[in-house]
Each structure stands twice: as C-alpha cells, then as structure tokens.
C-alpha cells in the first residue's frame, strides 16, 4: 500500500524527531542548571547552610591529601576529645564525585577552586537527573512522556530546595543516582540484557556511596519483583533484572566503609534477600513445570509445599527470635521512625529536634510539588492502560514514596521524581488524546477514507497489539547496531509494522475522539496549568530556596541590608584565637565552625554521640559555675551562642533552648524540663522561672543586652527580658558581631586559691559533704 517514498519520508521524520528530542533534552539540561543559579546571582557563589560545609571541608581534604589519606582520615577537630573517623562514617559518593570533577578540570589546566566545583556540583547533577528521568519515563511510556517528565523534574521545587548552586549535599547527586538506578532496572526488565543488569548494580553502588536513602531502592525493587511474581508476570527478564542486582549490589555495597557488613546484617536489607530466595523458588518451579507433565507437577508441588512450609516456619521463627533479641529490633532509629512516625518523638529527641524530620503539612505538598499533586492520579490511571512491568513499577514507586513523604519532610525529595514521572505520563497522554482528536477533526476524515480498508482490527485486541508493538520496539532498541544487510530486511518488516501501526492509530483515534471545542479548551487549560507550574517553580527557586542561610538580607527603605554576622564571627575565631582552641556551641554550628573558623568543636551536626550532645545541652542549661566546670573539663576555651533578639532573627539558641534541656535531661536527669517552664509555657520575661533566668544560655544571650535600648526588649520573643542587670563571673565577652547575632565568650581562667579560703572550705567540707557530693554528680565528667 505504502510506496518507498513515504517510507523514506518516515525515516527522515523519525531522524528529525530524534534530533528534536536531543535538542529539547539539552535545553532541559540548561534549564535545570540555570534555574538553580538564582542563589549565586542574588547572593554569591558560596556553600550553603550546615551539612554542605562539612562536605566541602571533606572535599578540600580529599583534593589536598589524596584518596588514601581520605579513607584513613581521623578528624581530631571535631567531637573533642573523641574525634571522628571521617573515612569510615561518611557517604563518600558526593565527595569523590566533586573531587574527581576537580581533578579532571585541573588536569586540563582549568584552575577552578574546590569551592567553585562544590558550588556547581548540585546544578550539574540536577541536569543529569532530568536526563535520567527522560530515560526512565521513556522506558515506561515512550519518549513524549519522557520529555514531559524531564522538563517537570528539571524545575520541581522539592528538588530545587536541595540542589541550588551552593547546596552541596548528598541528596544533590543521590537523586540522580536513584533515578538512574531505576532506569537501568526497568531497562533490564524490558530487554533482559545482562549488560544493563551489571550497569544497574554499578549504578546502585554509586547510590550506596552517595546517600543513606539507598535502602529505598533495595526495598522498592524487591517489592516490585514480588508484585510481578504475585500477579503472574514472572519472566526470565525479571530474573535477570533482579538476581544480579542483589548479588553484585550487595557485594559492592559492602565495599563502602560506612555500610560495610550492614549490607547483610541489618533489617533494611532483609527484604531483598527474602525476595531473592522467592524468585529462585519461582524460577525453579517454572523450570520444573516446563520439564514435568501437569499431573506429575501437581504431585511435586504438594510434596515440596508441605516440606518447604515446615522448614520456612522454623527459619522464620529463628529469625524473629534473633531480631527480637536486639533492643531496636535490628532497625536503625531513622528507619524505625519511617515505619512508626511517632517513634522518634517518643524515644529520640535528637531526631525529633531536626525540623526536616517532622511530618509535612499539606501546604508543603503544594509548595514542593505544586500542580503535580493533581496530575499524579491521572498518571496512575494512564499507567494502568495498559499495565506493563515498567508501568507497574512506576505505580509502586509513587505509592511508596507518597507514604514516606508523609512521614518525613525530607523524603518529599524521593516523592518529587515519582510525581514528575506520573505527571509527565499524564500530560503526555492527555496531549496525545486532545491533539489527536483535533487532528481527527481537521484532517481525520481523509486519513480515515484512505485507510479504511486496512483498519479492521477489532477494538478488543487493541491493547494486546499495542503491547506487541511495544515489545517489538524494545527489541529494536536491543538490535540498535545490527548489520546493514539485516537493516534492509528490517526496513521491510518495519514497513509492514508501520502500516499496521497507522491503521491501529486511526483505530484508537476513532475510539478516543473528543469534540473539537472541548479538546481545544483542554489543550489551552493544560498549557495554562503548565505555565502556572513554571511560574511557581521560578518563584520558589528565586525567593524561597536560594537563600544560603549564612548571609541574611532584609529590605529596608534605604535599600538592601546585609546581615553577615555568622561569617564575621567565624572569621574572627579563625584569625584571632589559637589554632588548638576548642569552641563549644550547640551542635547546629559545629560543621560551620570547623569549616569556616577551622577550630575544634565539641559536637557537630553529625549527631553520632547522644551523650556528648547531652553534655553540652546540660552545660547550656546549668547555672554559670556548673557550666564552667563542665566546659573546663572538656578543655573548652570559647563558648559561642547565637542570639537573634536584637535584630529579630528567629532561629537562635534561645528558641532552640528547650531541645537542649530535653536532650540534656534525657541523659542527665537532674536537668528537668518543667524547671524551665512556667505553667507549661516557655518564656524569658519576668514571669520566667529562676532556673531559666539563671541558666548559662540565658546569661550568655542577654549579657549587657539591656544597655542597647535601656529596656532589654527582645524582638524575637516580643517581650522585655526577665533579668536585665547581671554580671558574669566565670565567662567574659570577647567578641560580639555587628548585629549581635553571634556572641563569643571566653572561659575565665581558674582563680588562684587563697590560703585562708581553702582552709575555710575545708572546715566546712565535713558539714556540707552531701551537697558537694551532689554538685560533683552534676558534672558528668567527674
């Protein structure tokens, strides 16, 4: 029916489509990169927030000392006097990535600084992530959906919040690794190629290197495999996709020092091994089914089942007994709080105190994924028409990630790619239907007339045919580089196929045709929705998520006012204290102090030792003398507090103080939270409890604060402070920044003992033995 001219036309159009898709992808990459540069343009090229500063410091060490020193790095500038083995406790993926980038650039004589490389790592990898999304969605629902999903992911606010330029954090590269691993899994599932299976394991290894969230992969993929088996979709391709991943992936994961034997020991990984066993059993069953006659097979099944069940019960019983004997049931605290959202707030205040570990509110869904929330259901429906292995995976991904994002704000990040994929599918399908019916109305009758004879396939087997076409297409991708001779043959076959396809298309069109006006309006509304999404994303990138949080700005009548107090304090510490001085502060500022001030800290944002943090919390909530004793026993020379009362900076230490009390009280019971609350209310005005007004944090924050305006009006708490005039006896103010946001105090040296006094205290000692004993107990280091 079709002449060779139309065939060549089709190949040209096909090639044109590929080139167009390629350019669209490049543009999406540019978009994803450049939308994240608002922070550099509005502020400066600087590392953001807290954790990125640690990663930056590690990268500096790596580029300076090399990879072997990095693995063996024992960091003595943090967690004094314990120290921290960085090489064994850090996910090295991000650091190694940026280090490699830096090394490649330098070997090409492009002398970018480590800082610049670190700042731009996240935007670069979000471009990669959007390309990976294209590949994944293309495997699920074709290139159109792929492009839509890639464009959506390039600017989804949830991902932007973690990957603006300067936000040098694990998630920035991990989301790329996550999507790419899923893509390779689906690719293996569609092709059954062992090559892709191996790549999949390597990609999983990169994910393990990058982020603790890799457990999501190693639980989601087994779930999908199980789903496929249960729904009777077992195939050798599924086996190829899964078995090598578990074996190779687990071996590779165990190579990462921070994971090590956890890859086989902890409960997070058990699901994968269980499914690994199941898939082998199923494979064996299918194999035996192929060999035996149906009657013999039935006999074999009953035999095996009865024995197998007994063995399984025994094994499971043993397993449960072993797991139950460990206090946390073999699950780490963060994972447990995933399963039981109330777990953390009940048992671990240090996890609960981090704001990103709280469950999200509804507005945050709208803020972070915006219109995608409405498109996702449509995408899920589209995935069921027809349901393939790949689309069932997409559905499973979205369902699980919605659950996890409901538990922790932080995991909204895992939801974002799934939402983008679903929305991309929904948008692409909707556009297909709408533009198809427009086309049908404009020129459809002529097509229908010309090909009326060909299209006689019944509507019942349409999905089946479509599936067949799909599998053909995947075969085509397998044989991408076949010889030219076979290409010719294939062309002929393709011709036939395309004939079939076109007839099929007209068939579908006839089925899904919509009224002309309705489809025009539908297209218009979809474009409007997309435009709204773009506007929201640009706003979110520019206004909400680009602040580096170490520099604050405010708009006043006289223009922009910059609050650069944090760096002022860190620079002062760096240049005007001794190299080995120890600085105590609440753990939030630990990473920044080590990275920017290059001074030893007692606790930092890697909250691995609860007792140590509780010690600092106890010191901050104790009266001056007891606090001095604790700090002195820790060799602390300077104490740093963040105070926002003068300029109205709300996230200061006074507002975090109750967490210090709770965490301190969790380990040292003499610190009791009710002592700091008046009738259950946290206040610092004249109604506050004497314990509160005498604790170190209050004193260091408000020392001489009353001299600024005569009243001591705190602009964060909107009240006058309770105790205005007091002196410090064991600490002295050595530095306060321009806007008072950071105040640094020095521990006064111990006073020389006067002879008469010591005698006096000795004579008293016998009478007040009990009280001194109690006081000594209060100091956990004595």
């Amino acid at each position: 029916m079709s002449s060779p001219v139309t065939a060549s036309e089709r190949t040209v159009r096909h090639a044109f489509g590929n080139v167009l898709a390629f350019f669209v992808l490049i543009l999406i990459g540019v978009l994803a990169f450049s939308i994240r540069l608002f922070s550099v343009i509005k502020y400066e090229s600087v590392i953001h927030e807290f954790d990125p500063y640690f990663n930056y410091r590690v990268t500096q060490f790596l580029t300076k000392n090399g990879i072997y020193d990095f693995w063996n790095w024992f960091d003595d500038r943090t967690w004094y006097p314990l120290g921290r083995v960085i090489g064994g406790t850090v996910y090295p993926g991000l650091t190694l990535t940026a280090g490699t980038l830096w090394w490649v650039l330098h070997s090409l004589n492009i002398p970018l600084s480590v800082e610049t490389v670190c700042v731009f790592t996240a935007p670069t990898f979000s471009a990669f992530a959007s390309w990976a999304t294209y590949l994944l969605t293309k495997e699920v629902k074709g290139p159109g959906a792929g492009l839509a999903a890639a464009a959506l992911l390039g600017m989804v606010p949830s991902y932007i919040s973690r990957s603006v330029a300067g936000s040098y954090d694990n998630e920035a590269v991990a989301i790329f690794a996550l999507i790419f691993t899923f893509f390779l899994y689906i690719k293996t599932l569609n092709t059954g190629s062992l090559f892709y299976a191996t790549l999949n394991a390597i990609s999983y290894f990169y994910m393990v290197c990058s982020w603790g969230g890799y457990t999501f992969i190693i639980n989601l993929i087994p779930m999908h495999v199980l789903l496929c088996i249960v729904t009777g979709r077992y195939s050798p391709r599924l086996y190829i996709a899964y078995a090598p991943l578990v074996v190779l992936g687990t071996l590779l994961a165990a190579l990462v020092p921070v994971v090590g034997f956890n890859a086989v020991m902890t409960s997070e990984h058990f699901a994968s091994f269980l499914v690994f066993i199941i898939i082998h059993v199923v494979a064996l069953v299918y194999y035996i089914k192929g060999i035996l006659s149906p009657r013999m097979f039935k006999v074999a099944v009953t035999l095996v089942l009865s024995i197998g069940l007994a063995v399984c019960c025994a094994v499971i019983a043993i397993l449960i007994a072993v797991v139950a004997s460990s206090p946390t049931k073999g699950w780490s605290g963060r994972s447990l709080s995933l399963l039981d959202p109330t777990y953390a707030s009940k048992y671990i205040p240090i996890i609960a105190s981090v704001s990103e570990h709280q469950p999200p509110t509804w507005p945050s869904y709208f803020m972070d994924i915006n219109v995608l929330a409405f498109l996702v259901p449509a995408g899920i429906i589209a995935c069921f028409l027809p349901l393939s292995d790949a689309s069932s995976f997409a559905v499973l991904y979205i369902v699980t990630s919605v659950y996890f994002s409901g538990v922790m704000v932080r995991l909204m990040l895992v939801l974002a790619p799934a939402a983008c994929i679903m929305s991309g599918i929904a948008l692409s399908e909707a556009f297909d239907a709408l533009t198809g019916s427009i086309k049908f109305h404009l020129l459809g009758f002529s097509i229908e007339n010309s090909q009326a004879g060909a299209g006689d396939a019944s509507p019942d087997n349409v999905p089946a045919q479509k599936n067949a076409v799909k599998s053909d297409a995947s075969e085509n991708t397998l044989k991408e580089r076949t010889s030219r001779k076979s290409k010719k043959k294939e062309k002929e076959r393709e011709k036939e196929e395309q004939d079939g396809k076109s007839s099929l298309k007209s068939q579908i069109k006839r089925l899904q045709v919509l009224p002309f006006e309705a489809s025009i309006i539908g297209v218009f509304l979809l474009i409007l929705l997309g435009a709204f999404y773009v506007v929201h994303c640009v706003w979110a990138a520019a206004e909400a998520y680009s602040a580096p949080s170490i520099v604050l700005t405010s708009h006043t009548q006289s223009g922009l006012h910059v609050f650069d107090d944090f760096r002022e304090a860190y620079a002062w510490l760096r240049h005007n204290t001794e190299v080995d001085d120890k600085v105590a502060s609440w753990w939030d500022y630990g990473y920044q102090t080590t990275a920017m001030a290059n001074r030893t800290v007692i606790v930092d944002n890697n909250t691995w030792n609860n007792t140590h943090i509780a010690t600092v919390g106890t010191a901050m909530s104790s009266p001056e003398k007891a606090a001095w004793e604790i700090f002195n026993s820790l060799d602390v020379k300077y104490v740093l507090v963040v105070f926002g009362g003068l300029v109205g900076y709300p996230s200061d230490d006074i507002n975090k103080f109750l967490w210090m009390v709770r965490i301190g009280g969790g380990v040292f019971p003499h610190i009791k939270e009710p002592d700091y609350l008046r009738d259950g209310q946290y206040r610092i005005d004249s109604q506050a409890t004497p314990t509160m007004l005498n604790c170190l944090m209050y004193k260091l924050s408000y020392y001489r604060f009353v001299d600024t305006d005569g009243k001591g009006f705190d602009r964060v708490r909107q009240t006058e402070i309770g105790k205005k005039y007091f002196k410090l006896t064991h600490f002295e103010e050595v530095f306060t920044t321009h806007h008072w946001m950071v105040r640094i105090y020095k521990l006064k040296p111990q006073k020389n003992r006067i002879r008469g006094k010591s005698k006096k205290s000795k004579s008293k000692a016998s009478s007040t033995a009990s009280s001194t004993k109690r006081r000594i107990n209060k100091n956990p280091w004595l």
């Binding site: 520099v551 620079a571 002295e732 103010e733 306060t736």
Partner: protein, 463 residues
C-alpha cells in the same frame, strides 16, 4: 636586573677602596636640621645637611650613619642635592648605596650618597635626605583594654649620628597630639604643643650619640600588611587582572580582655580609639569588576568611588581590628590593557605598573609581585627603581599547554612611597593569542568526526 644585583657588591667594594683613599675627616657638616614626623606609624625623617669640604682633594661621596636598630627598620632612603638660592632651588636626585666603614663603632650602618660632581676643596653643598622607618614605635603598655588609648615609645638620638664633625645641628620632633607622657631632656630641649625641639647643639665630634626616648599618644591605625601577594595577569585580549592577597594585622598595643560591642557601638569616639575598621585603597582609574572577599566568601562592606583621575575603594574588614587582631582578604580588579601595556619600536612590549601596595598609610612587611606574562612570551626583563629579589616561575592557567612565564619580584619592608612605576619587558607574538581557540575548535571537530565515524562503523560479529 640581575646585573644590578651583581653590581651592588662590586659597587660597595669600589666604595671601600674609595673610602680608604679619602679620609672622612675632610668633610664637615656645617649645619644639620632634622625634622622627625611621628604622626603615623611610619616614621618620616627629613634631614637637611649643609656640607663643606675642608680637605684638599675633591670628594665624591658623602656618608650617612644609622644606628643598627634604625638600619634594620629603614624602609626608604632618598637623597637629593639642592642648588640655587631660596625660591629658585632645583633638586637633583642622587644615588644612595650601602657602604662599609671599618672603624665604625658598635655595628653602625653606613649609606653613601654619591654626588653628581665632585665637591672641590672649600666648596659647600646642601643635601636633602628623606628616610622612613617602620616598626619603630613600640607600644607601652604593650597591652591595653578597650577604653584605653595607645601610648608608644620612640627612641632616637638627640644628636645626629654622623662620621663627620657637625658644627651646628637642631632636631624637631612632631607628635600626632600634644599628649606627651614624657621625653628625655638633653639641654637645650623645648616643648611647644605637639612639637619637641632638641638643640641647637654645636661642634659635636664624629659618632657622638645621645639617646632620647619619647613616650606619647598615637591612636593612628597601625595597619601592617604582614604579607601581600600581588598577581598581575596580562591578557592580550584586552585586560589586566590584578589579584591582591592580604594578611593584615594591627601592629599596635595588643588588645587585652573584654571586647564589648555595646561600648564600641555606643561610644565610637571613646571606646576602641586605637582600633580601625576602614581602609582605603587607591586604585588606578578605569578600574572594573572589583571584588573584595576572603576564604569564606564575599565581604559586603565596601564602596568604590570612580573618577577620571583615580579610583578609591573604601572597605572594611569583617570586624574592627584591635591591637594584635588579624584578618585576611583578597582584592581583585581588572584594568584596560591599553593604559598599562605599551610597545617599543623594536616590537618589544612592556608593562608599566606601580609596584607597592595600594592601601593608604600601611607598611607591607613582605611584598611579592608576580607578573604573569601571556603564554608564549619570551625573554622577560625587569626595570625596578630600587633593589628587589627576583626570579622566574611557571603558571598554568585556563587550558595552558606550555605554561605562562611569571616574573616574581620580592621586597621586604615596603612603604606607600614605594608606589613608583616599574617595567617588565618581553617579546610576544600575537599568533599565540589564537592557540587556545584553535585548540578547542580542533578538539570539538575531532570529537564530532569520531562520533560520525562511530555511527557509520558496524562492529557487530554476528550478521
């Protein structure tokens, strides 16, 4: 320049011979007037000498003597001869070289001024000498608290140290304010407000010395750049990029104890009076893309004033600097190439740039100037008006293959008066400007060729 470095020892050898030949007693200083300016932390001394040749043979060199403590802190020494009367005075600069005198007492250091024309018997010449001393004001007390003002000692001699007989001499010392705690008396000594007068003294024998010590208030910023690295990178595409890395310190009396922000902010004139927070850098005109940052990011407190003659950058370190406090920062800026790079008729190019530190009223303990010549430039040579250490380095910048030649000049103890122009000469073929674009084009071309080739080659085994 290497020649000059070699020349120095030879010169001093020659001088030694000359000195032995002519006895120093043939010269007599008829009148000496010294004005010592102590108003900033750089001590400026203006010395006017009227010299007479009392011997028989003509003399070509005049010696200046410095006690060893001063000689170590001597940053600059300039001499000029005045000819003509009063208003028609003309000055000619004279060369000054270090010299040695075997019979000099207690490690006295000598410098020799060589006259343009020999001074005949009985003739008189007037010399004007300017020299600057750094780190010569010692704070006492060495540590002060925030509310105290800074007191310093200055040590010198009331009588001019000289290898010659001095017939008449007088010394004026100017302090920044009239707050002088104490000063040594060497009669006749007068004090009037902020000025001290020692002398006149008559007929002092050679090498006479009478130490005096002055204890006075000096709250001027003691801004000392401990180390400054200036990198001047020439690009023949039209701009010069300068990067200056500073290690700044307050070299006055150390800050002791508490720093209270309340007092510092509420009583600015009274509290922390010897501290400083503003610095001023004088940059060349037509400066562009100025940045001011340190190792942890931008510092957002600077103002740039541009006009046609000069540009002024006023900036603040992150925190006010009290005695003993330190800060590091980087200033960078770009300048148009045509203002500073010129071509000689023989095809040689030369850069004409100012040597010293652009900060006003600061001492630089160690200055390193690095001139990064464009890739492919040949035989560099340097012309600096004062002796400096120099050597060559290689630097690899964006996509360099052979590397850029870097001329490194080092000098210790630099004062603002060293901001005089110096020249770097080199050969450069403009074809090297195209090296990197051509390299990139070729790389991408080859990349596309390989892609095309790869897509057209069939490597499959099975047919």
């Amino acid at each position: 320049m290497k020649l000059i470095r070699l020349a120095l020892p030879i010169w001093s050898l020659v001088l030694l011979c000359v000195l032995h030949a002519s006895s120093s007693q043939e010269i007599q200083i008829v009148n000496a007037e010294r004005r010592i300016d102590l108003s900033s932390h750089i001590v400026k001394v203006f010395l006017t000498l009227k010299i007479e040749n009392t011997g028989t043979s003509p003399v070509s060199d005049v010696l200046l003597a410095f006690p060893p403590t001063q000689a170590n802190h001597l940053a600059l020494l300039k001499a000029q001869a005045a000819t003509g009367k009063r208003k028609k005075k003309t000055f000619t600069f004279l060369d000054v070289y270090p010299a040695e005198l075997p019979e000099g007492p207690n490690g006295t250091k000598y410098f020799s001024i060589s006259l343009h024309s020999k001074l005949g018997a009985g003739e008189v010449v007037t010399l004007e000498v300017l020299y600057m001393l750094t780190h010569s004001l010692d704070p006492f007390p060495e540590e002060i608290s925030q509310s105290e003002s800074q007191l310093v000692y200055y040590r010198d001699s009331a009588i001019l140290l000289s290898p010659y007989q001095v017939k008449q001499q007088i010394t004026f010392i100017k302090t920044p304010s009239s707050k002088i705690e104490s000063f040594s008396m060497v009669e006749p000594t007068n004090r009037a407000g902020a000025e001290l007068k020692y002398g006149p003294y008559e007929n002092r024998s050679p090498h006479s010395y009478s130490p005096v010590i002055i204890h006075f208030e000096n709250n001027n910023p003691f801004a000392v750049v401990e180390e400054l690295v200036r990198e001047i990178e020439i690009s023949h595409w039209g701009s010069i990029q300068i990067t200056e890395q500073y290690k700044l310190a307050h070299a006055g009396a150390r800050h002791k104890g508490v720093f209270s922000r309340v007092e510092y902010q509420s009583r600015p004139g009274h509290s922390g009076i010897s501290s400083f927070r503003h610095l001023l850098a004088r940059l060349p005109p037509r400066v562009h893309s100025v940045y001011y940052r340190d190792e942890i990011g931008n510092i957002s407190s600077s103002h740039l004033r541009l006009d046609s003659k000069k540009s002024e950058l006023e900036f603040e370190p992150r925190y006010p600097l009290f005695g003993g406090w330190k800060a590091t920062f980087v200033i960078g800026y770009g300048l148009p190439l045509e203002d500073f790079l010129f071509e000689l008729p023989d095809g040689k190019r030369y850069l004409n740039f100012s040597f010293g530190c652009p900060l006003v009223e600061t001492v630089v303990n160690k200055l390193t100037v690095k001139v990064v010549l464009p890739e492919g430039s040949l035989d560099p040579s340097v012309d600096v008006p004062f002796p400096v250490e120099q050597y060559l380095e290689k630097k690899y910048s964006y996509l360099d293959v052979v590397g850029r030649t870097v001329v490194v000049l080092e000098k210790n103890n630099v004062v603002p008066e060293h901001n005089s122009p110096f020249q770097v000469y080199y050969h450069f073929n403009p074809i090297f400007m195209l090296a990197e674009p051509i390299m990139l084009t070729t790389t991408f071309f080859l990349l596309f060729i390989t892609c095309v080739a790869y897509l057209h080659i069939d490597l499959s085994i099975s047919k």
